[in-house]
């Protein structure tokens, strides 16, 4: 299981779960659970460290792939991730 480091917390990511699914499964309210489908843009995060896979199309509004600013519902960790919530 990959770990997601966010602020001072560590969340355990189950296989097949997006980063947002991990927050939702743990009832972690630091990220608002919105559409879960890459459309509403509410789950914007920056990945500071680690590798991830994009699992669905993201609304292009606020994301910036070059700087690892992505939507948490659209990515799955490939390694442990360090993220910050935007």
């Amino acid at each position: 299981m990959n770990k997601i480091f966010v602020n001072n917390r560590i969340l355990l990511n189950k296989e097949h779960d997006s980063v947002l699914d991990t927050f939702e499964a743990l009832h972690d309210k630091h990220l608002l659970i919105g559409c879960r489908r890459g459309g509403c843009g509410k789950c914007l995060i920056k990945v500071l460290q680690g590798e991830y896979e994009v699992i669905r199309d993201m609304s292009q509004g606020n994301i910036d792939l070059k700087n690892n600013i992505v939507l948490a519902c659209c990515i799955k960790p490939k390694t442990d991730l360090k993220i910050t919530i935007l």
């Binding site: 659970i33 559409c35 879960r36 489908r37 890459g38 459309g39 669905r56 993201m58 609304s59």
Partner: protein, 308 residues
């Protein structure tokens, strides 16, 4: 009641991120019929219980949301009248040629609302290839699929300048206010408005960003069908928002869920019959949770915040 002028909500053009997943969602799961595809790659769909050429258009884009929503009117002369009155009201509007971007549709008058949404008014549409039986008809011609939605029903739109928008919809287009929600300062948060016997054809909510879509709703017949739709939401791993439940507003039965691009969908059934002599029902902020989520009696975090 003679329904004159604007007669109903008629179509929506929706932006989607992934066309293949979206067509699967609307065609196979909601049960709309695919009518065709335009040369620029948009996909046209309609419900089995609708007569007009199409009622939902999917357009692939970088961000989801709505391009415009159409309202069908009773005659061409009404459109000419609305053109003059819209300019006099101070809103931008322009004619869109017949059979241009919407195959089968006559000319449309596109109006830019103060809320930032574009609405198209039109009076002439070709009959679809498949439509409900007309001569000693059966209840359907082909067995409906999936959730078996009958067609497009209504939408909730978020944007600024709520008062100016609703004054135009009522004063110029002849909509009636059916219900509203007031804020503590006496101003309004939401208006549910209609042009027919349905309890709402469209609703507007005051919001800082223009032109936003809260949800697009499709019609079902009853509570059993709402339950069946909820089953399909789970079976197909569709992102659920809320339901199955009832609204206090309109008293309709409902599910909210998200399409593969994050546009919120609703399946809506029932609701009372509205007549233009009915007084306006008024909600306040302390009770609006019950107005939207009648059984839970409070809004979820998503309801006000999540739009496309």
């Amino acid at each position: 009641m003679a329904i004159k002028g604007v007669i109903r909500a008629g179509f929506m053009q929706l932006r989607v991120l992934d066309m293949e997943k979206s067509v699967h969602h609307y065609e196979d799961i909601l049960g709309l019929d695919k009518v065709g595809e335009t040369s620029d790659g948009r996909v046209l769909l309609k419900g089995y219980d609708e007569f007009d050429h199409h009622s939902l258009i999917l357009r692939k884009a970088d961000s989801p949301g709505m391009d415009f929503m159409g309202f069908k009117c009773d005659c061409e002369e009404f459109l000419d009248e609305v053109y003059e009155k819209t300019l006099a009201y101070g809103l931008e509007c322009q004619w869109v040629d017949a059979n241009s971007d919407q195959p089968g549709f006559g000319r449309r008058l596109a109006v830019k609302l103060p809320s930032g949404h574009r609405i198209d008014l039109y009076a002439s549409v070709e009959l679809a290839e498949k439509y409900p039986g007309l001569v000693s008809p059966e209840i359907w011609v082909e067995q409906p699929r999936g959730m078996s939605v009958k067609g497009f029903d209504h939408a909730l739109l978020y944007g600024p300048e709520l008062d100016k928008t609703v004054k135009y919809m009522t004063g110029v287009l002849g909509f009636h206010i059916v219900e509203r929600c007031d804020k503590p300062d006496g101003s309004q948060l939401v208006y549910w408005i209609t042009s027919s016997n349905k309890p709402h054809e469209v609703a507007f909510l005051e919001y800082d960003k223009p032109g936003k879509l809260h949800h697009v709703a499709f019609a079902l017949d009853n509570w059993n069908e709402i339950g069946h739709a909820a089953d399909l939401i789970t079976i197909n791993d569709i992102s659920m928002d809320a339901g199955p439940m009832r609204h206090g507003v309109t008293r309709g039965y409902t599910n909210y869920f998200f399409d593969p691009s994050g546009n919120r969908n609703e399946t809506y059934a029932g609701g009372y019959t509205y007549c233009p002599d009915h007084p306006i029902r008024v909600w306040d902020m302390d009770n609006i949770g019950r107005g939207i989520f009648y059984y839970e009696r409070k809004l979820n975090d998503r309801f006000l915040a999540i739009v496309t």
